[in-house]
């Protein structure tokens, strides 16, 4: 790429934020430029400015935008990550509803390569409730969704500490990879969704539990508020929203209130 111009970073960081809400801080400037360089070269652009204007204004740029998104998103997740809140949601929210004869829904938003929704599926299956719960898993990357649906994972997808009872029951180690019980994969509705696409999300109905974990850190302050407002609109009246353990919505005007049970912090719709 010819340009290492300081002007490239501002225009592209603004574009990326508009497209998917990711905020590349100055410290991540080089990472962004490296990814852009590869994406632009793949599209045949020598100049990042030409590439930028192509993405912004060319009528035929939609496919190129999706390819750019594929370059930008990072598959960083693993099975049983921050397991406590997920176990709580299954045990305290979903299973009681199943026992009450209801058919609850859970959505793992920004599920990346699928380890989180598959962990949920394992827990539901263990509780005998898998068939009575609808699980939606979404990500902005088709590549990630395809990998999730393949049911094949790298060893990095399994890290300590992992509950042995679930590992031995649902995961199989081969020489080169991990595979998962395909029954779980098939129970999940996998969809490509941009969390900034309010109209697409409005069509999804309402959920008893929504997880949007370890993804808000990539968004700007305004982006977080926007995504959380969109997601909280999709909660049932008693639905809960779970974010990552190191994330908080206190600072954001997102129309949710924080509650705590059994050491798990979650959010419900509406201010206190």
């Amino acid at each position: 790429m010819k340009e290492a111009d300081p002007l490239i970073y501002p225009v592209f960081s603004g574009l990326v934020e508009d497209l998917i809400g990711f905020r590349y801080e100055a410290a991540a400037r080089d990472i962004l430029l490296e990814k852009l360089g590869v994406a632009a070269a793949d599209e045949g652009f020598d100049s990042l400015f030409d590439y930028y204007y192509f993405l912004r204004y060319d009528a035929g740029s939609a496919a190129a935008i999706q390819r750019l998104i594929e370059h930008l998103v990072v598959p960083e997740t693993y099975f049983f990550r921050e397991l406590g809140p997920v176990e709580w949601a299954v045990r305290e929210v979903l299973v009681p509803k199943v026992q009450a004869g209801l058919h609850p829904k859970i959505w793992s938003a920004a599920s990346s390569t699928g380890e989180e929704p598959l962990t949920i599926a394992m827990l539901l299956d263990e509780a005998g409730a898998l068939d009575q719960v609808d699980i939606l898993a979404s990500d902005i990357s088709q590549r990630h969704l395809d990998r999730a649906k393949s049911g094949r994972f790298r060893f990095r997808s399994l890290r300590d500490p992992a509950p042995e009872r679930l590992v031995s029951r649902y995961l199989t180690r081969t020489e080169h990879e991990l595979t998962i019980d395909q029954r779980l994969v098939n129970r999940i509705d996998w969809r490509k969704i941009n969390l900034f696409d309010q109209s697409a999300i409005a069509l999804l109905g309402r959920f008893d539990v929504i997880l949007v974990r370890n993804v808000l850190i990539y968004f700007s302050h305004e982006g977080i508020a926007r995504v959380v407002r969109t997601l909280s609109d999709r909660l049932t009246n008693d639905g809960v929203l779970l974010v990552g353990v190191s994330e908080t919505l206190f600072k954001h005007d997102a129309n949710v209130r924080c509650e705590e049970k059994s050491g798990v912090f979650y959010y419900r719709k509406g201010k206190l």
Binding site: P6, G14, V38
Partner: protein, 757 residues
């Protein structure tokens, strides 16, 4: 409007925190006038805790002469005196050191401990003697804070007494940590001795302390080579240590593991290196640290690295490859180019690039067709760096491949190096079925610039399909404008917006002023793309008229038109452009503010610098950071003075020190001037900036400060010069010590000279 003092004093214990904070701030702003009332509030011990705490806060913030006023309270009740000590410490006034030293001797432990902690807040070396006395007294509650404060003085006289405490059961842990914080190379030996013990806790602690010591040496002196040499000299060959470290590594925290890995490397020898390679296999922080040290340790264990690379997992390979650049490992690195992990392939390619051997081109070439874009990009970048005759042969073969990715990269290589064989291949590739191949060949032909190449480009500019015409017109931007002007003028009226876009850009790139009247109408083109390209072209033409047009464009409601105008103004430069740009430093859109800042960097005047400084307080962290980076790179006295002020106001922020230490015009002079009247707090920061600069000019300035600086500066300069470790610098300190009149400075210099391991 400020409220009456008595009214404010009555509200010191108001229940609202925000109201109380406002009252405290107002009382502080009143300065001397409010002091008698605040002292009364402080000494009225029947008052509520809230009121007392608020009075303390107001005194800390006061702009009045608090130090003199509080002097009368030295003999008050211990609780009041403890508050006095706390206030003095938080105000960080150097003139309070004597008072606090006296209060360290107070019979009441709370007062004494508060005084010691306050000395720690003020920093500096003035209190070293009383602190040394305090830790020798064995008064439990006073020794702990004194150890901590003493370590942070950075005074070489602190090392021996702290080392003695390593034998004391109560203080050994704290003393170990404190030795790390001293930043004194003399602390290496006592800490290394702890590694030989049987206690895993102390081995981990000592390793961490050595790591901290190393980090502080880097902060202070900008280099750690001397530190590493000293550590190796103490540990080298002591293979008994290896077993101790491996045992202590199990169950240690990641930072401790990392510290121990570095120590293994410092020990050196077969056994230690074998241990490091063993550590690599575990998925832990220690493995990353082991990889880091294996890649940088001298002498490099080439055989062991070769084995580790070939047998290692993808993760281990990535860690090792990031640091490998020895040609002796070329075969091992080539062998892992087939790893299934694309990160390994990328790091292996870059590693081969660093080796600089054109012979590696044949191994890298097939990766131009890799499934991963990152790998393809890395391969192309490295091949363009390596060059070589083999590469020409590979590229010619690749250009005839049936795989489009390989053809694209091969055509780029041929065009980049302009091999004689390239012309015919490129001329034929302008009819390639792949659009990117056609584009690359046209751009490459433009760089070749031969008669046949130019003719082909002109011919393609009339091609039927839009894409080819746009490519040809873009290529014209790399050809002398005389040969293509007419074609570009025709292209500017083409039906396709991308053709018109590239025509404007090519004319702008050529700065062809005769095209002004052709480009001007494009500012109102139906296509936004073309309007933006026209703005950029006008900017390239330059001049007052261009600046006026661009300034108008920066008022557009369209983000990209506005931004193009700002970028253009940066290119045009001049006062008119500057004034138009600074208005956009307050734009509502952060990306526009960032652009305005970047454009302003191209117009380096005093006024521009003032605008950059005000942008340091921008609400968006990206803009703040960009403003700071602009300041850090800004040459001249004014920027250096601004950085010096920031550093002295925020001594704990390393970025200010790093920026002031950059070898940029004006920095050394400004730092040296400040050393002439630097105090115990500021002198070490200023000398650290010179030491980290690592230029001859800065070293000379340190020697200058050694003779002409304030007493504190002379001590700090001596520390920095000794740490540099060269004989010449040590001689300079020895000479200065012999001529030094101030006994305290002389003792300090002698302590430095005698304690070097």
């Amino acid at each position: 409007m400020t409220r009456p003092i008595h009214e404010l004093i009555e509200q010191l214990d108001t229940t609202s925190f925000s109201h109380r904070r406002e009252v405290v701030r107002e009382l502080g702003d009143l300065g001397d006038a409010a002091l008698p009332y605040l002292i009364e509030a402080l000494t009225d011990r029947s008052a509520s805790e809230t009121r007392l705490a608020a009075a303390v806060e107001a005194l800390v913030l006061s702009i009045g002469d608090v130090e003199s006023t509080l002097a009368s309270l030295e003999t008050a009740a211990p609780a009041i005196v403890a508050d006095v000590a706390q206030i003095l410490g938080r105000r960080r006034h150097l003139g309070s050191i004597d008072t606090l030293v006296r209060l360290m001797e107070h019979e009441n432990d709370v007062v004494a401990v508060t005084a010691i902690e306050s000395l720690g807040r003020i920093g500096g070396r003035a209190a070293v003697a009383p602190l040394l006395k305090a830790i020798q007294r064995n008064e439990f509650f006073r020794v702990f804070p004194a150890i901590d404060v003493l370590a942070r003085t950075g005074d070489p006289r602190a090392v021996d007494p702290l080392a003695q405490l390593l034998n004391h059961p109560h203080y050994a842990l704290e003393a170990t940590r404190a030795l790390g914080r001293t930043g004194e190379p003399a602390a290496i030996a006592p800490l290394a001795k702890l590694l030989l013990g049987d206690n895993d806790l102390f081995i981990r602690l000592a390793a961490s302390a050595l790591e901290e010591l190393r980090h502080r040496c880097f902060e202070q002196y900008g280099a750690v080579e001397r530190f590493d040499e000293d550590l190796s000299a103490v540990l080298r060959g002591n293979e008994k240590l290896v077993a101790h470290l491996l045992r202590a590594m199990e169950g240690a925290e990641p930072p401790e593991q990392s510290a121990m890995a570095r120590i293994l490397a410092a020990i050196g020898g077969e056994e230690a290196l074998a241990a490091l390679l063993g550590v690599l296999r575990a998925p832990s922080a220690a493995a990353e640290a082991a990889a880091a040290v294996l890649g940088t340790t001298t002498p490099l264990p080439v055989d062991a690295l070769d084995r580790a690379l070939r047998a290692g997992s993808s993760r281990v390979r990535t860690l090792l490859l990031a640091r490998i650049d020895q040609p002796a490992l070329l075969n091992a690195v080539t062998a892992v180019l087939s790893d299934s992990d694309d990160q390994v392939r990328v790091t292996a390619i870059r590693s081969l690039g660093r080796m600089g051997r054109p012979a590696a081109a044949g191994s890298i070439f097939p990766l131009l067709d890799d499934a991963s874009g990152l790998v393809r990009q890395a391969a192309l970048a490295v091949l363009l760096t390596l060059g070589g005759q083999d590469l020409e042969r590979h590229a010619l073969q690749g250009a005839a491949s049936d795989r489009a990715l390989l053809r694209r990269a091969s055509l780029r290589i041929l065009g980049h190096f302009g091999y004689p064989s390239a012309e015919s291949v490129l001329l034929s590739a302008i009819h390639d079925p792949d659009a990117q191949c056609r584009d690359i060949s046209l751009q490459s032909l433009a760089v070749l610039g031969t008669k046949a190449a130019v003719a082909a480009i002109l011919e393609r500019a009339s091609a039927h399909d839009n894409e080819t015409r746009a490519s040809a017109v873009r290529a014209m931007g790399s050809i002398g404008v005389e040969a293509v002007r007419d074609a570009l003028w025709r292209a500017i009226e083409d039906e396709d917006e991308w053709v018109r876009y590239y025509a404007c850009r090519s004319l702008g790139k050529a700065r062809d002023l005769s095209s002004w009247d052709r480009v001007l109408p494009c500012l109102d083109d139906a296509s936004r793309l073309v309007r933006i390209a026209a703005i950029e072209a006008i900017a390239q033409f330059g001049g007052r008229e261009a600046a006026e047009i661009l300034a108008k464009k920066t008022e557009s409601q369209d983000d990209d038109v506005r931004r193009a105008g700002i970028i253009g103004l940066g290119i045009v430069g001049g006062e008119h452009a500057r004034v138009a740009i600074i208005g956009h430093l307050r734009d509502a859109d952060p990306a526009t503010r960032l652009l305005a800042l970047s454009s302003l960097e191209k117009i380096r005047t005093s006024e521009s610098l003032s605008s950059v400084l005000s942008t340091l307080r921008d609400p968006d962290s990206r803009v703040q950071n960009a403003a700071f980076q602009a300041l850090a790179d800004w040459p001249g006295r004014e920027a250096a003075e601004a950085l010096r002020t920031l550093l002295l106001a925020h001594p704990d922020e390393d970025r200010f020190l790093e920026a002031l230490a950059r070898p940029i015009e004006g920095r050394t002079e400004v730092v040296l001037e400040a050393l002439f009247d630097a105090n115990e707090s500021t002198a070490p920061l200023l000398t650290a900036a010179l030491a980290r600069s690592s230029t001859r000019h800065a070293s000379d300035a340190l020697e200058d400060a050694l003779v002409r600086g304030s007493p504190a500066a002379r001590k700090a300069a001596a520390g920095a010069l000794i740490a540099a470790g060269t004989r010449v610098r040590q001689h300079a300190v020895r000479d200065a010590s012999a001529l030094e009149k101030d006994p305290d400075v002389r003792r300090f210099m002698n302590a430095l000279l005698s304690r070097r391991p």
